[in-house]
């Protein structure tokens, strides 16, 4: 019941065009993440949706109602949209509990129900004990959680979240991730979730919109983004992907293609309509590479440029190719060690041939 339809949205601040022809069609009840580098316009898109910014071109519909065109603008308080702000925007003069209860009070929820709902939401974000504190006396992460609780309590039909978990530790983060999923399942609200953390985006969202420099460059299911990125930018952005050059790409017809990578024959996935190419760009994730322990197998020669400890595994940055010009990343299971400069041999187990940029939207 609360479909969001964004068509050809344009938005500039003075001379700078911040959003360019953004179109998104979000199903009612869908969970959509927006992923993109810092400064690409995510927050601005959210502010247009919420009604804080007037738009310069295009239109926005929410639940079948036109809420924004350059001429017409429904004020935020009449859109029934909840927002969790990037900078918290807590009301400094109210206690935590009051911050959370305020919207309910405005909506006319009776006191007793209000109190139970506030208590429940605060417990959810593990802030029950701090209900009487003021925002100034909280740590950064605690403030973030209050902002979250404030929005959750409202149970709006459309909820926009601007990096709601950015300042939280992993535990709380996964707890709240779960809570988002549960809240979403329970309420059926349409969620629009901005993040720069792809793990979050991929884990939570039904679909992910990847933004770059004011444009949406791909809007697809998480698996598709990861395994079949539509452009180099997406490929490079998702899942610590690397884009490298392969030669002699020959489609095999079953969604696969054969190619040659740094002189080694490899088997790749490709789009159904992929044509044969002498040179092409392919997308590779660290997990697609395997360290060869055995010197006899054919493999790609590389040397380690940096190895960092990541707990469960060791992440190694490699330089491969004749002039060590092809950078690759690989994860190596933990109880092992790799040193800077060490020479290794690797094999490519999977990869995706990035389709030719035919549509102009993939151009920045």
């Amino acid at each position: 019941m609360a479909r969001i339809e964004i068509e050809n949205l344009d938005k500039s601040f003075g001379q700078t065009q911040v959003l360019r022809e953004v179109s998104l069609s979000i199903e009612a009840g869908e969970f959509v993440s927006v992923l993109g580098p810092s400064g690409c316009g995510k927050t601005t898109l959210l502010r247009c949706l919420a009604g804080f910014e007037h738009i310069d071109g295009g239109r926005i519909e929410v639940g079948g109602q036109v809420v924004s065109t350059p001429e017409r603008h429904l004020p935020p308080e009449r859109r029934g949209i909840g927002v969790v702000f990037q900078n918290y925007a807590l009301w400094p003069h109210m206690t935590v509990a009051k911050n959370v209860a305020y919207g309910l009070k405005i909506a006319g929820v009776p006191r007793s129900e209000r109190e139970t709902r506030v208590a429940r939401v605060l417990d959810l974000v593990e802030l029950g004990a701090l209900a009487q504190r003021r925002p100034a006396d909280l740590s950064g992460g605690q403030r973030q959680r209050v902002a979250l609780a404030r929005c959750l309590a409202m149970e709006s039909r459309v909820v926009l979240l601007d990096e709601p978990l950015a300042n939280l530790d992993v535990h709380l983060r996964s707890a709240l991730e779960e809570e988002f999923a549960a809240f979403h399942a329970r309420s059926g609200a349409t969620m629009f979730y901005i993040t720069h953390d792809q793990a979050e985006a991929l884990a939570l969202a039904d679909r992910v919109a990847v933004m770059d420099r004011g444009r949406i460059i791909q809007f697809d299911r998480p698996e598709a983004l990861f395994r079949q990125p539509a452009s180099e930018t997406v490929a490079g952005f998702i899942g610590e992907g690397r884009v490298i050059e392969a030669e002699d790409i020959r489609p095999l017809g079953d969604g696969h293609a054969s190619a040659s990578l740094l002189g080694q024959p490899v088997r790749l996935r490709c789009a159904p309509g992929q044509r044969g190419q002498d040179r092409g760009r392919i997308s590779v994730h660290p997990g697609d590479l395997q360290l060869l322990s055995d010197d006899l197998q054919p493999g790609i020669e590389a040397h380690v440029t940096r190895a960092t400890y990541r707990g469960a595994y060791l992440r190694a940055e490699l330089a491969a190719g004749p002039s060590a010009s092809v950078p690759l990343s690989i994860n190596v299971a933990a109880p092992s060690s790799l040193d800077r400069g060490q020479r290794v041999r690797i094999a490519l187990r999977d990869g995706w041939v990035i389709p030719d940029p035919v549509t102009p939207t993939t151009q920045p």
Partner: protein
């Protein structure tokens, strides 16, 4: 989700939506009406009297009057005296706010009390005290063996003297405004500078001052307007020094005879208003440049004065001794004798004046109660109106906002006596619909106060908005709260220090108000400021001094009493409390 929606009740919500729809428009309409009725209309009536004396425009008369040698000279004097006095007040007021708000100077609370109190002493009293203190016959200079030889011109009888006293007198205005800004300055910005190696001085110069610039220039605007329209000091020092200024010329015009006196006075008043508005526009422009938005959740940091702590403390208290103790002792010395000029000694000491003021003159008591009532009413109306007006002015761009801005400053730009005349002209006729006129009642004085002090109340609040994170309001907007609700629940509390500063400014200025009320009082509505003047004129200086002392004492008691409630108030609201 169905559940969530239905629980709050669909029809109810629809109804609420309906009332909310016009919410903002209604507020804007109300503000336009308020400013239009209380500011624009009376002043337009005055402008009409000034420019069209007999219903027709006469350019020659205007050029002749404004082009006269004395008017030009007075205009030039007015401009440079007000600018210099503003500069002095700004420097002193800002320094005081920094000391009280940012340093670890000793006994700050008591000091701040003393610093704002002189606002309460009528400027004539202050000026007279200074004149006496530095006159050749002064007991003070005599005691210090610095007596001027008789026959020398009094050092304060000079343009410099006017600047000096106006500067001192208006410093608390700047102080209040700057302090409100300072209180919203977030600690991390200062800490970041300190960890970059900047000590107290560079931090103040490079970080603090630029960030509170809005507050400083708002205070400067207040000081400018207050200086340019201060008749008491300009007349008492300027006339003996033969330094004519516009406000003294206007008073001369008011006292002259002839059918055109009122119209000529109105014309001079317009000239003064133009100067004042230019000054305010200039300070507003200087204060607005650049971005001073800071996010909320501030804990005011303190910078250590280090080894300067003792000297600075002494200096600050020395300043207070001069500015507060000097006029106050003069006032008290007068109030405690029967006849003015009697030396205060065991024989002459009497509390008769106080007894008279308190018990034997019901007129004084009535006047005081009326003033208190009017002042509180003005505060109660102006602070909320200014908060709403500030919202529109700060966060809604557009023609209406700009027009409101100019209109609301208009009235403050004029000296009080002119407002009084404008109010008479405008409110004399019976009002439409009501049938009776407000003239001669207490309401016309209230209307004049509202009109004259609107800009005063607005200034610190605009400074507060400049520093407020808009997301706070946006977050509340999303809950569906209408503009009025948000103003009450979100904006006003966040602006509390600024709102309080504005309330205190209005209170302090209105309780003793003379220039506006003097034309509007009647036997039915008498206020305390003119009452003191009448007593003075009728030769009861000692009684007048006793009333003055009682007023100061009362304000002091109110200020102290406010401290009792400090725990219940948001931090930073009371200017005299850390």
């Amino acid at each position: 989700m169905e559940l969530a929606m239905n629980r709050s009740g669909r029809p109810l919500r629809a109804l609420r939506h309906l009332t909310r729809a016009g919410d903002e428009h209604a507020v804007v309409a109300l503000l336009v009406l308020f400013v239009g009725l209380l500011s624009v209309a009376p002043l337009a009536r005055l402008g009409y009297a000034a420019l069209m004396p007999d219903g027709s425009f006469n350019g020659a008369r205007i050029t002749e009057l404004l082009g006269g040698r004395r008017v030009i000279e007075a205009t030039l004097n007015t401009v440079w005296i007000s600018i210099s006095a503003t500069a002095l007040a700004t420097v002193i007021g800002t320094a005081a706010a920094l000391l009280a708000g940012l340093s670890d100077m000793r006994s700050r609370t008591a000091w701040v009390f003393g610093f704002v109190l002189p606002l309460m002493i009528p400027p004539q009293v202050t000026a007279l005290a200074w004149v006496q203190a530095f006159s050749p016959a002064s007991p003070l200079l005599g005691a210090l063996d610095l007596s001027l030889p008789p026959g020398t011109r009094h050092p304060l009888y000079s343009a410099g003297g006017i600047v000096f006293l106006l500067g001192l007198y208006n410093a608390p205005l700047v102080f209040l405004s700057v302090r409100a800004s300072l209180h919203r300055l977030p600690a991390p910005l200062i800490e970041a500078a300190r960890s970059a190696g900047a000590g107290a001085l560079p931090v103040t110069r490079d970080i603090v001052l630029p960030l509170i610039r809005g507050g400083i220039f708002a205070g400067a605007a207040l000081a400018f307007v207050s200086s340019i329209g201060n008749f008491g000091i300009q007349a008492m020092l300027g006339i003996p020094a033969r330094v004519p200024t516009l406000i003294t010329l206007i008073y001369q015009q008011l006292n002259s005879y002839g059918p055109s006196a009122l119209n000529d006075m109105a014309l001079l008043a317009l000239l003064l208003a133009v100067l004042t508005l230019s000054g305010m526009a200039l300070t507003a422009w200087l204060g607005r440049r650049g971005d001073q938005r800071v996010n909320s959740a501030a804990r005011p940091p303190r910078l250590s004065l280090g080894r300067w702590r003792m000297p600075v403390t002494l200096l600050a208290w020395g300043y207070l001794a001069l500015c507060l103790v000097l006029p106050l002792t003069a006032l008290l010395g007068t109030a405690l004798v029967r006849g003015y000029g009697q030396p205060l000694s065991a024989e002459t000491l009497t509390f008769e004046n106080f007894a008279n003021a308190l018990f034997h003159h019901p007129g004084i008591r009535d006047a005081f109660l009326t003033s208190l009532w009017l002042t509180l009413a003005a505060v109660a109306v102006l602070v909320p109106i200014s908060v709403a007006l500030g919202y529109i002015l700060s966060w809604r761009r557009g023609r209406i906002a700009r027009a409101l801005m100019i209109a609301s400053e208009l009235a403050y730009a004029l000296p009080g006596i002119i407002i009084g005349v404008a109010m008479i002209l405008f409110f004399l006729r019976p009002l439409p619909f009501i049938g009776t006129g407000l003239y001669g009642t207490i309401w016309v004085i209230l209307a004049a106060y509202l009109s004259n002090f609107l800009a005063l109340a607005l200034r610190p609040i605009l400074g507060g908005y400049a520093q407020m994170d808009r997301a706070l309001d946006e977050a509340a907007q999303l809950t569906g709260a209408g503009l009025l609700t948000r103003l009450r629940d979100i904006v006003l509390p966040s602006l509390a220090p600024a709102a309080m500063a504005s309330g205190v400014l209005v209170f302090m200025t209105a309780i003793n108000e003379i220039q506006v009320s003097v034309l509007l009082v009647s036997s039915r509505a008498q206020t305390i400021g003119p009452m003191i003047i009448f007593l003075e004129e009728a030769g009861s200086s000692t009684l007048a001094a006793a009333v003055g002392c009682l007023m100061v004492a009362l304000i002091l008691v109110l200020m102290l009493a406010s401290l009792l409630f400090r725990r219940r108030l948001p931090p930073g609201v009371l200017p005299w409390q850390d």
